[in-house]
Point group: C2
DNA sequence: TTTCAAAAGGGGCTTTTTCCCCTTTATTTG
DNA sequence: CAAATAAAGGGGAAAAAGCCCCTTTTGAAA
């Protein structure tokens, strides 16, 4: 029986390499290659006719992150099963990734046995949910939440720029100067993002941005 | 020749297990065991007479983090060579860890070959510095920096508590209530931490706290 | 071309933050 | 014990943040 092919996308080389070793010990799976970020993955996918069955996709990557990469895959290689693989267990991140088309969400602290099970399930069922992630999702649906609103619309460029600057020690006045806009316009962005993210202060904004990888400040 | 024994401390089971596989492929090294956090490590070290040569120590762990664990090791098992192993490449973290007695600081995105080299060097020289980390350190010395001051004195309990609450959407007045102190006292804490961390606003304080793992908000 | 909506900007106000300098109250320590 | 030191608390003011409601500009769509 032919082994299922796996590609690993993770900027932590040590982890990627180690994980490759682990996956290769599984009977039914073998790693084709591993790459450091989304851009490298796309290059590899485009130049090679060897399409993997599964992609293990990290989210936090410096160059082209997991979200962007996932979008590209959904558009261009929809037949590949993507399993997100991250340390980040925030509801928003999980939901965002699954909504983008990931077939499962694995936390890096899972037991290798479970990891093995996940690989098998995504091949057989086309989907895998860990208990912990399932619980998180349930909670989010339960709480009558509207994370949808939160993640539904992507941020505009100006808003994202503002958000990044808001995650620094600059005052709003300074941010306005930096962006060549009136302080009042900046105030408008602030107000709008506060509502969008349901936060009540700039601190809340910063925390939200960091937790959801909207800025890469850690 | 007897192999050098290695212990891995990392809460990301998948990574720990994978890394164990990698290390075991090295001729000169073998993994004794891996544990999820500092507490587990201490338990293992205390109950087993089999002392490892090297400990690979992650910093971000939920229960007992790398700093606390490092302190314990320095106190109780100073003969073990500890290599810090983290994704965090912030100057403060690196310096703090080395100051606590780590014999090297590895970033998780290093190449496995380099990782192998590091293991060997820490056995032969008792120390390993990657180029990147060395550069970071040089920069910090260069800039006439006084990160010393920053990391020199640990925070008091009240200050830490305040810091944690400052990393929420609470106002200072609310924080004062929560801590059963006068808002003026809180203002004193704020002022003191601003100076200590060299920041100019609460935003800066939050960013500093998150970047340096003083609060576990991500 | 008119219309409509979004983006940009403004007035004016309250609350919060930030800053400086000062007093009282423990807690050590010589 | 007395003196020093640190922690807790205070007054007051300027700057920044947050909030609401309003006007102008701009860029499509009808």
């Amino acid at each position: 029986m032919k082994k299922h092919s796996v590609v690993i996308v993770d900027d932590h080389l040590l982890f990627a390499q180690s994980l490759q070793g682990l996956v290769n010990t599984f009977e039914e799976f073998e790693v084709l290659y591993h790459v450091k970020n989304g851009s490298e993955l796309i290059k590899k996918l485009l130049e090679s006719e060897n399409v993997p069955d599964i992609i293990l996709l990290d989210i936090n990557m410096p160059v082209m992150n997991g979200f962007e990469t996932m979008e590209w895959i959904k558009e261009n290689r929809p037949s590949i099963q993507v399993l997100a693989l991250s340390m980040d267990d925030h509801e928003e991140t999980i939901i965002k990734m699954l909504r983008l088309g990931a077939k499962g969400y694995l936390l890096k602290d899972i037991h290798p046995e479970i990891f093995y099970k996940a690989l098998n399930e995504v091949i057989s069922n086309g989907i895998y949910y860990s208990e912990r992630v399932a619980t998180t999702l349930l909670n989010s649906l339960h709480g009558g939440n509207d994370k949808d609103v939160k993640n539904g619309k992507p941020l505009k460029d100006t808003e994202l720029m503002f958000l990044k600057l808001a995650c620094t020690e600059m005052t709003y006045k300074e941010i306005a100067q930096e962006m060549c806009l009136s302080p009042k316009t900046i105030d408008g962005y602030r107000e709008s993002l506060f509502k969008h993210f349901k936060v009540k202060s700039r601190i809340g904004l910063v925390l939200y941005a960091i937790r959801n990888n909207l800025v890469n400040s850690k």
